[in-house]
């Protein structure tokens, strides 16, 4: 009965439902990134440098032949000296599904080289400029539905690959900070006294530092020479190092009131040991609040990872994350000429909003009195 009521109340929340669907799509994309993305994380194509999004066509020379693309020819505009692209409408390269591409390991185990869609091994010949003495070269036709970046890498594929880091760092960081926060908070609230005062002062001092410099200061500690997976966990630990404090404060408040509950007193007067009481009574009774707290603190984590990576102290190339991808869109001129480089930002926004909506829906369902305040990180 009780569960039902909560579920109903959760589903009633419209934005919460929207958020849930968005998150489902995002996480699905992250899990199957290798398969959905037409290119691997490191693949680049010099024809795609700063390429605008490829347009999909259906009708070639008056005939319907299904989705296909035209290759683009680069040329330098003699007046502005900018690279310009022009579609070469002579040859149609049909879009194919389940095509062979760069190899990857599915779920990190099985060697596969099938991608959801792509152009296969469609090639085009680039003739050398007249009189340059060079020979004609063959080149893979680039497919960049959301454009290409500075090094000719596919933005769509990079966003998918980056979502793995961004979305999982949020979750793992939150999980870590919730576990630490719940334990410290429960101990602080249940025992009270000097221990509580010490922990609270410590948290207050740390929280009074501005967040971003603190992140950066901690991120600097991580040796940049570390392999990228270590780096990744380093960032997650930095994030949760700050995140647990918010959780601890909420849990402490609840533990303070739970320890006066008569069932806790009953356990105490029966001689149950303090840590057993915390494990058996305090933690289970804050569990539903912890769900709310966790969902509401994921966005902070995602933003944190993005910020650190954006400022160049986080994830390093060739691994990528949304924050790192955004780094290429740092200058006004880049944004003006290649607006598609901003797309990772849009994804950060969608993920953050979705988590907030879902968190709000959870809160309405599990915590109608609003005990849990929104956490910043």
């Amino acid at each position: 009965m009780k569960r039902d009521r909560r579920l109903t109340s959760f589903l009633k929340h419209k934005l919460g439902r929207v958020g849930l669907v968005c998150l489902a799509v995002l996480y699905f994309g992250a899990i199957f990134a290798d398969f959905i993305a037409p290119y691997g994380m490191k693949d680049s194509n010099e024809l795609a440098a700063y390429a605008a999004p490829t347009t999909l066509h259906w009708i070639h020379e008056g005939r319907f032949i299904g989705p296909f693309v035209y290759a683009k020819r680069q040329s330098r505009n003699p007046d502005t000296f900018r690279l310009e692209y022009r579609e070469d409408e002579s040859v149609a390269y049909p879009l194919r599904f389940f095509v062979k591409g760069s190899p990857y390991k599915l779920f990190g185990l099985i060697n596969v080289d099938i991608h959801l869609f792509g152009l296969g091994d469609a090639k085009l010949i680039i003739e050398a400029d007249e009189g340059s003495g060079e020979e004609a070269r063959t080149h893979a036709v680039p497919l960049n539905i959301w454009g290409g970046d500075q090094f000719g890498r596919d933005v769509f594929s990079r966003i998918l690959h980056g979502s793995r880091v961004s979305l999982s760092a949020g979750l793992i960081g939150t999980a870590l900070s919730v576990v630490i926060g719940a334990i410290v908070g429960a101990i602080s609230g249940y025992f009270g006294g000097v221990l509580d005062t010490l922990i609270q002062r410590f948290i207050e001092i740390l929280r009074s530092f501005p967040r971003i410099p603190l992140w950066l200061a901690l991120a600097v500690i991580i040796p940049p020479t570390w392999p990228s997976t270590y780096l990744y966990f380093g960032i997650v630990i930095v994030l949760s190092f700050i995140g647990w404090m918010g959780v601890a404060r909420v849990v402490r408040g609840m533990a303070l009131s739970l320890r006066e509950k008569e069932y806790v007193l009953a356990a105490k007067s029966a001689g149950v040991k303090p840590f057993k009481i915390i494990r058996a009574h305090i933690i289970p009774n804050v569990a539903s609040y912890l769900i709310v707290v966790s969902t509401l603190s994921v966005p902070g984590m995602i933003l944190g990872e993005s910020t650190i990576s954006f400022l160049g102290l986080g994830i390093k190339e060739p691994m990528t994350s949304w924050g790192l991808l955004l780094k290429q869109a740092q200058s006004i001129s880049a944004i003006q000429s290649y607006p598609w480089l901003m797309l990772p930002g849009l994804f950060i926004m969608i993920a953050v909003l979705s988590f907030n909506f879902v968190g709000d829906a959870f809160r309405d369902a599990l915590d109608p009195n609003g005990t849990v305040e929104k956490l910043e990180a």
Binding site: E262, Y263, S269, A270, G271, K276, N285
Partner: protein, 328 residues
């Protein structure tokens, strides 16, 4: 009664720091319990009555070692050894005391953890005392416990919210009985229950006492109820005992003006008499922060004189009971 004295308190005190203002600094002490003396013998029921805020719950919790009190609390263990049960005890004694003294709380809706099944709730004290090592035997024991409080064994797998208030209080009684205690402190065990269910719980408590020879400290603000269950009664006012004695004696011939006023304030269920509408006690219960040098009841007392304001009345023997009043 010649039974051994189980627990005897002398000068029991408890105060809470009062915090005020933005900084929550300690601004004073709230003396919830002032120098409380009592004795309870094995198998006896001791009643404690008084109005809201007079310190009844605080007393119960000091006795159950939930709050740390001051003064002395002499306990006679099963082996006949006497020791002071306040303050720090060595772990063995602590465990023995916790086993012997149990508590039943007022609100059966908050005294059972909503996230535990009845089985877990009842197992908890057994586990804490290492008495649940043999799972099958423990389970059989729990079924027997439930039967003793009039519940069916299939209750074990259910959660507290599936039970009515009266049934929950039975579960709470079963939990208190689990360790085979010698004394149960009942803090208003029926005041959250419906009238028709109250009798069930009281009958159950009485029945268990007769069968197992337990002692009860029965705390309540319901005078009729305390009179019905108790052998002896302590009447409290503002953290102090104002009158203490055999329950029938107190009810037939109250000596302290406060006891008299309390008895006159009980509705007497007789529409012909309507005695409440005629007699009444003036004034309000004072703030618990107030700590007068004289008698705390003086502002409301019909017999008050100048002496009452300056000199605290000592407890003395009047017609077979203890009274703290200059004029009783």
């Amino acid at each position: 009664m010649s039974a051994t004295t189980l627990l005897s308190g002398r000068g029991l005190r408890k105060s809470f720091p009062v915090r005020r203002g933005v900084l929550m600094l300690v601004r004073g002490q709230l003396k919830a319990l002032h120098s409380f003396d009592f004795d309870i013998r094995a198998g006896e029921t001791l009643g404690v009555v008084g109005e809201s805020g007079c310190g009844k719950t605080t007393l119960g919790r000091v006795l159950a070692r939930i709050h740390e009190g001051e003064g002395s609390l002499e306990y006679t263990g099963r082996d006949g050894q006497r020791y002071d049960a306040l303050g720090k005890l060595d772990p063995k004694r602590e465990l023995a005391f916790r086993r012997d003294v149990q508590m039943v709380f007022q609100d059966p809706y908050s005294s059972l953890d909503p996230r535990m099944t009845v089985e877990k709730i009842l197992l908890e004290p057994l586990e804490a005392h290492g008495m649940a090592k043999d799972k099958a035997a423990a389970k059989a024991y729990l079924c027997e416990l439930l039967a003793r409080v009039g519940l069916h064994a299939d209750a074990l797998q259910r959660y507290p919210h599936e039970f009515s208030g009266g049934q929950r209080q039975r579960i709470a009684v079963a939990r208190a009985l689990a360790l085979k205690p010698r004394l149960i402190i009942c803090d208003e065990p029926t005041s959250a229950l419906d009238v028709s269910v109250q009798s069930q719980v009281i009958n159950l408590l009485k029945e268990i006492q007769e069968r197992e020879g337990l002692a009860y400290i029965f705390i309540s603000h319901n005078l009729d109820l305390v009179r019905y269950v108790s052998d002896r009664i302590y009447v409290m006012y503002l953290g102090r005992v104002v009158e203490a004695g055999e329950s029938e004696l107190l009810f037939s011939d109250p000596a302290h003006p406060y006891t008299q006023a309390l008895l006159r304030s009980i509705p007497n269920w007789d529409p012909q008499a309507r005695s409440l509408l005629n007699a009444e006690l003036r004034g309000e219960a004072p703030s618990p922060l107030w700590d007068p040098p004289g008698c705390p009841f003086e502002p409301r007392c019909p017999k008050a004189a100048a002496r009452c304001r300056s000199e605290a009345p000592a407890q003395r023997d009047v017609r077979g009971r203890l009274v703290a009043c200059h004029f009783a």
